[in-house]
Symmetry: C2
Subunit: 436 residues, 2 copies
């Protein structure tokens, strides 16, 4: 077996077997396959894509590249979720205690936020004073056993080769691919011990870098098939993300919204998606005969405070100041808050994700580089969302920052995000598809 | 302009403009674009290929990466040829003096043989004692002006980035592509000052690594179009190479065959292809009204000794021992010569190129690595070629080596090359297409 034969096969659109993928990935990990050969392979894979067989082989190879979390001591099945991310995605912290409240173990194991918005769940929770998310493996498992959920940073060594491959993909423009993204996501969740996954593949405007519906559905189907080939319980939602999810963006604004939702007073879209995701998890765990029943149970657990109680227990068990759960005002607020006001009467016809992301970065609430410091109190709150009627001078949104300079910059960017028109746009469903 | 946008465009099958190609190639040459990004680009180009516009842009960028030979002092047009190579390809050394004898300047500027057989023309000629092929630019031009031809190693600095790109393509399995191969070949010939090119694209059995006819024709057409976009006179022959060309393989055996052909006694295939190639060059130079006339002139120049006279003049001008031209016996012969004999009666139905190449390497007449020493006297002579009737015990071929151990290894490999059958295979044309 040699790298050139493997590269030649994939260049011509052929399929690679498990041994060949292990040869390349293992060789790369050991420093025997140089960057340029791996970069060429990644580009060939990005163009010709992987089929289900290849992706399941590659997922297995990636899992084998590092340590595995042993959750066999946790009464299973252990479920979790993974979304493809986006502005305002704070579902992890709501769904986890909600599913736990329904008797199904549901850990949230998060890698630190990379550039942009993805996977900051552990950082959002860590805004609570005293709360620890860097848990050693025994403690992580103990919290999960006792509370039914845990929010922790990924232990070191899970899919050890993933970071280097991700960087190489980023530097060679081969990130946006179904196969490699699938293998990266699934390998981490499987190495973290998940028996089943509720995936959330976002769809939206391609001009904002989102997947169009057909492509998102294809990706959802592919991920479900690969995961099932691996013997895991799999379901994928294809959900709309053409404006930010909910109203809060930024660590503290999102944490507030999480608490509000767990108190039964969350925004409609966040509440609906939390209930649907939790219901799919409960159904996947085999705890209900049909999904309607699971939705009812989930909705009730949000209303009756049992999800909130589970969240409170998790916060306390991880060393956090428990009082903030019922009194979020204790978390403080950013020193500078300014309102964005409507300049005309009309209806909000769009809130551009690109501009929102730019505003988030300018406010200090986003990560421009892997090492950048994120201001926990910075962010924004959307008062008006798509379809809302607004009058001139009424507040559209509020920016939170540590200085009026940052607030000003954020306001300018956010102004670009809002498009005010005359007619109410046709409403779009939040959950487009459930792929099983 | 940035590398990621360019990589992303080509990954998605888009086209690159001249500025983008210059950004990548120039950046790579200056060490600003890392190997892995260039490797990813080469793989994307290998898969999506280049269109004529892109290839002419890339050719221009490659030419600009190094020095150019200034042949403006040579009465033009200056023509030359380039074949895609293969066992027994010794046409350069025959066609060059033949075309020169017909009044058209025809230099042979060769890069040192890479692994395998290609482009050893200067090395073959350098078997003649005293003959120098490393000529400084003024001398190269002087010989070309005086004799009408010159055989020289490529001066340093021509398409300076070509070697690094070629190595990167070799190490990432992206060599076998029409676009990149075209740009590499044309850029060198154009930087060397050619006003026109007779290309020779070989076709043969894909199992022996040769291009099938349609693919070879496509490549010929592409190269002609790209070269013409560049304002050069272009013609391409698509020629059969399903068995070695001629009878001799190896530096000395090929040089002998060159002399024999110039004396009007060469093998039929070599003589036919030399006449056709020279005729196309003369026609391309505008020296005849129609190609039939050019063929007659070429055939006569081989018969009447004027091509040989031009060869003799070139050898003398480059410091070579002139007597060997008329008395090749002075060149000596390898110490060990052994015959391969037919094991059955029959007709030669195939001579496998793979096995011939293996035999050549084992005899010491081929280059296994770029730094390997090639034994100038080693090689082989094919007595029987495809279609020849043979009787058991009759010689099929003769191997030449410096030791009986090497000769023995070569014989074993060569035995695999010969396939003896019952029926004479249908003859195949030598020149399949003339693409203009």
């Amino acid at each position: 077996m040699d790298a050139l034969t493997i590269l030649d096969r994939k260049r011509r659109g052929g399929r690679l077997g498990r041994e060949e993928l292990a040869f390349m990935v293992g060789g790369y990990q050991r420093g025997e396959i140089p960057d340029y050969q791996m970069a060429a392979l990644l580009m060939a894979v990005a163009i010709h894509e992987l089929d289900v067989d290849e992706a399941s082989h590659l997922t297995a190879v990636l899992v084998a590249s590092g340590r595995r979390l042993d959750l066999s001591g946790v009464p299973g099945p252990v479920l979790t979720r993974r979304s493809t991310g986006g502005a305002g995605e704070k579902l992890d912290l709501i769904v986890a205690p909600l599913v736990a409240a329904l008797g199904v173990a549901f850990p949230v194991i998060a890698v630190p936020g990379i550039v942009g918005h993805t996977e900051g769940s552990a950082e959002k929770l860590a805004v609570i004073p005293g709360l620890r998310t860097e848990l050693a493996e025994p403690e992580l498992i103990a919290v999960l056993r006792e509370v039914g959920t845990v929010v922790a940073r990924q232990p070191a060594g899970i899919v050890a080769v993933d970071h280097a491959l991700f960087e190489l993909r980023r530097l060679t423009a081969s990130l946006k691919t179904t196969g490699l993204t699938t293998c990266s996501i699934l390998s981490k969740k499987f190495a973290e011990g998940a028996d089943g996954l509720v995936l959330d593949v976002k769809t939206g405007d391609p001009r904002a870098g989102m997947r169009p519906l057909l492509e998102a559905e294809g990706m959802a189907r592919f991920m479900v098939e690969v995961g099932r080939r691996f013997g895991r319980r799999m379901v994928a939602l294809v959900t709309e993300l053409s404006q930010p999810l909910g109203r809060g963006i930024g660590l503290l604004p999102e944490l507030r919204e999480v608490l509000l939702t767990l108190q039964g007073q969350g925004p409609d879209d966040v509440t609906e998606l939390a209930i649907e995701t939790a219901a799919q998890a409960v159904a996947l765990a085999g705890r209900v005969a049909e999904i309607g029943q699971a939705r009812d149970l989930s909705a009730r657990a949000l209303k009756d405070g049992s999800a909130l109680a589970r969240f409170r227990a998790m916060v306390a068990r991880q060393g956090g100041e428990g009082r903030v759960v019922d009194d979020p005002g204790l978390l403080g607020v950013a020193p500078v808050r300014e309102l964005l006001r409507a300049e005309t009467d009309g209806v909000v016809s769009a809130i551009g994700l690109d501009a929102v992301e730019r505003a988030t970065l300018l406010l200090g609430a986003g990560r421009e580089a892997a090492v950048a410091r994120v201001d926990p109190r910075a962010g924004l709150m959307l008062h008006a969302k798509v379809g809302d009627a607004v009058r001139r001078g009424e507040p559209l949104a509020e920016v939170h920052a540590e200085s009026s300079e940052r607030a000003g910059l954020g306001l300018v960017a956010l102004r670009d995000a809002y498009v005010i028109g005359h007619d109410r746009p046709a409403p779009r469903p939040l959950v487009h598809r459930v792929v099983q």
